[in-house]
């Protein structure tokens, strides 16, 4: 194999003038994390709401929740990214659409990316929340009602505290998915970690060094998330209560 390894490349200046290649990668990591975290907030809020209404006795709300999940699960993430970035501004009133299109560089792709990832992952969070609530014995809801709690109170004080503890492990993997999926935002011009590794490869021709660095950074982030979430799990664990794993495929 003829390939000239040059690991010193990371300390050379990148042509965009912002610093060494290594520092551009770390700026990319910051954008990856910023995108993933902002999207995660949206996903958690909307996903939880959807998960709850899908277990509620209100028929039309259940249908609405199901429709949302099916819609967002059955369109590829990349296509959804294009819909948010290219199509949505066109469907807005003219002034608003123009304003969206004229957002300055990082924000013009950051905001659609966050919205896209947030609403996409919300569908997956909703599945987990629903599964978490459904693993609880039906008697708990009835007991809540028998004690005179309203339905929202039953959810708030009885069902959700346990359901969320049960679904912590699958939520951890959804969080890691959102970090990985944020790389899809490079297609709409967000310079996150994968995009920067790709740019480094294009400028320096050191393909494998660039991708190795990005791979290692992703692995380290993964390990940190896994250990962080294990710590959270231990912190919030109810003694004697071990929840079953909820199956969830995909990436």
């Amino acid at each position: 194999m003829q390939y000239n390894w040059n690991w010193k490349i990371f300390w050379e200046m990148s042509p965009d003038g912002s610093g060494t290649y290594l520092s551009t990668l770390f700026v990319g990591l910051q954008w990856t994390l910023a995108t993933a975290l902002s999207a995660w907030i949206i996903a958690l809020v909307i996903g939880s709401l959807l998960g709850v209404i899908r277990t509620s006795p209100v028929k039309w709300a259940v249908r609405l929740g199901d429709a949302y999940v099916e819609l967002f699960r059955n369109i590829p993430l990349l296509v959804q990214m294009f819909l948010w970035y290219f199509v949505l501004p066109e469907l807005m009133p003219k002034a608003l659409g123009t304003a969206i299109k004229q957002m300055p560089p990082p924000w013009g792709s950051f905001v659609p990316a966050v919205l896209c990832l947030g609403f996409f992952t919300a569908a997956r969070v909703a599945e987990q929340v629903k599964a978490g609530i459904q693993t609880l014995p039906r008697g708990q809801t009835m007991a809540g009602t028998a004690m005179g709690l309203t339905l929202p109170q039953t959810y708030r004080f009885i069902l959700l505290p346990v359901a969320f503890r049960i679904i912590l492990p699958p939520l951890t993997s959804e969080f890691m998915n959102i970090i990985k999926n944020s790389s899809v935002a490079l297609t709409i011009g967000l310079l996150e970690l994968t995009a920067r590794a790709r740019a480094m490869q294009e400028y320096s021709f050191q393909v494998f060094e660039a991708f190795t660095a990005a791979t290692l950074i992703y692995i380290i982030v993964n390990i940190i998330v896994v250990f962080g979430m294990r710590w959270v799990e231990r912190k919030v664990a109810v003694p004697g209560f071990i929840g079953p794993q909820v199956a969830g495929g995909g990436h």
Binding site: M1, K180, R198, F211
Partner: protein, 229 residues
């Protein structure tokens, strides 16, 4: 919104399906076949009592599952020519077409996910059946091939197919290599004719119909083949 132009879809849909969808579906089918075979081997390695084998399989699966598919696509796009050169002993990187590069990428990547499914499937078969196989004088491959794997496949079929729907959606990511898959074809027409709204909406609808339809079929299959215990 008033100027939604159906004409551009009417003019291009034959091209989209003939060029693009054929590519997407062929890639999905090949990667599914390769991925399930390689994934099953990985699962068997991971459950093996030979430590180096199980460690290799665990490492491979965890690596693939912790990095984004896009990064894997880039990795293989540049790596495959070098590996090919190394295998045939050529001094320069060999040329691998974009299509085969994609097939290898998706096979290797999805194998990690298929292997987790197959591992669960194999582990769900009672251990006693494996011992019974050995007691009958079957060797490892015979026990696996005639007793464990057929049952594991049957039980896991719905999940394997669901993963394949996800694989089909993931193939849209080959867009980053400027390949004419279904989305790539739609994007080309969209940019040529300046009709982004129409083409991307159309692509979304087509993907939705296919994936939603397939997921309904999987649900029906699941209800039909489920073993009542």
């Amino acid at each position: 919104m008033g100027d939604f132009d159906f004409g551009v879809i009417e003019r291009s849909w034959v091209y989209l399906f003939k060029e693009g969808m054929t590519f997407s579906l062929t890639l999905t089918a090949l990667a599914m076949t390769g991925g399930i075979i390689f994934g099953t081997l990985l699962a068997m390695m991971r459950l093996s009592s030979i430590k180096p084998l199980s460690m290799f399989a665990a490492g491979y699966v965890n690596l693939m599952r912790s990095i984004p598919l896009l990064l894997v696509i880039f990795w293989f796009y540049f790596l495959v020519p070098y590996i090919g050169a190394w295998i045939i002993g050529s001094p320069t990187p060999i040329k691998v077409g974009a299509f085969w590069s994609c097939v290898i990428t998706f096979t290797m990547f999805e194998a990690a996910y298929y292997s987790e499914i197959m591992r669960a499937g194999i582990q769900a078969i009672p251990r006693g059946q494996v011992w019974a196989g050995y007691a009958l004088g079957l060797n490892y491959w015979q026990t696996m091939g005639t007793i464990v794997l057929p049952q594991a496949f049957r039980n896991m079929l719905p999940i394997l197919l669901t993963q394949t729907i996800i694989l089909f959606q993931d193939t849209s990511l080959v867009y980053v290599l400027s390949i004419t898959d279904f989305l790539g074809a739609a994007a080309k027409v969209a940019q040529r004719d300046g009709r982004l709204v129409e083409m991307y909406t159309f692509a979304a609808i087509v993907y939705f119909i296919i994936c939603f339809g397939l997921s309904l079929l999987v649900k029906r299959l699941q209800a039909r083949i489920a073993i009542i215990r």
